[in-house]
């Protein structure tokens, strides 16, 4: 597998179930396939296919722990979309508020 195309990220996000899976991981990171299936009314196989799509787009990362395969939300591509497609188009007013918040919170980051 090589670097991920931005199109793959947007295509992976263009699906209700896949966005819901990301929400589930955001609420509770590091879940097995079985755990992720519980919140969804669909077959295990269908959920597994959606997770494969998310992993191919690098939106989900998996780690093995013993016999379990755990799924994690990977925040890097969403951060890159934010930098490239959202921050740039925010109006000046929002931008100023955002900068103020950044400065106010700057002391405890990193």
């Amino acid at each position: 597998m090589s670097a991920v195309d931005e199109n793959d990220v947007f295509k992976a996000l263009a699906d209700h179930t896949r966005r819901r899976l990301l929400d589930q991981l955001h609420a509770n990171n590091g879940q097995t396939l079985g755990e992720l299936c519980k919140g969804l009314d669909m077959t295990r196989q269908a959920v597994s296919q959606h997770l494969t799509r998310l992993e191919a787009a690098n939106l989900v990362a998996t780690l093995r722990q013993g016999r379990e395969k755990l799924h994690y939300l990977n925040p890097v591509p969403i951060h890159e979309i934010h930098e490239r497609w959202i921050e740039k188009f925010e109006d000046q007013h929002q931008r100023a508020l955002h900068d103020l918040r950044k400065r106010a919170e700057g002391g405890r980051r990193g």
Binding site: S2, A3, G30, N58, A61, Y72, E83, R109, G110
Partner: protein
């Protein structure tokens, strides 16, 4: 064993050796992190994360657990106030896997307390740091105004 709380993956067009150097070199960390990481990077050694240049006060401290260049670096990470309290130390694992002409970098941050200041900080921090690192290695330019 706990489930790690935070995993970040990015693909960078570089070599494992260059990526390793970028993780441990004080000058390069200053460029893309805008903070500096200082250590001799030997197992058992201390490392410090300083916000105001190499002579600055440490904002984060820890120890090098494993150093296997250019594939795997494991560190503990804590606020200076918690340095003596090992139960408060979190753990960061960097793994580099070459895949053709790119390197897959996985950062796993575990032993994190739910709702802690550390977890909140890194949730915002790691994606920024890794995007800036990727930009520096691929284009020669880090991202501006990270913090």
């Amino acid at each position: 064993m706990d489930r790690p709380a935070f995993v970040c993956v990015t693909y960078i067009s570089t070599t494992p050796e260059k990526l390793w150097h970028a993780l441990i070199d004080a000058k390069m960390t200053t460029q893309y992190w805008q903070h500096v990481n200082v250590s001799d990077w030997r197992p058992g050694s201390k490392w410090e994360h300083r916000r105001d240049g190499e002579a600055g006060e440490p904002a984060l401290v820890g120890k090098v657990i494993e150093s296997s260049p250019p594939r795997r670096l494991v560190l503990t990470r804590a606020f200076p106030a918690d340095e003596a309290r090992e139960d408060k130390h979190t753990r960061v694992t960097f793994e580099m896997e070459p895949l053709g002409d790119v390197v897959r970098l996985t950062v796993t941050h575990d032993r994190l307390e739910a709702g802690s200041e550390m977890l909140e900080g890194i949730t915002e921090g790691w994606p920024k740091v890794l995007s800036s690192l990727k930009s520096l290695l691929e284009t020669g330019r880090p991202l501006p105004e990270l913090w």
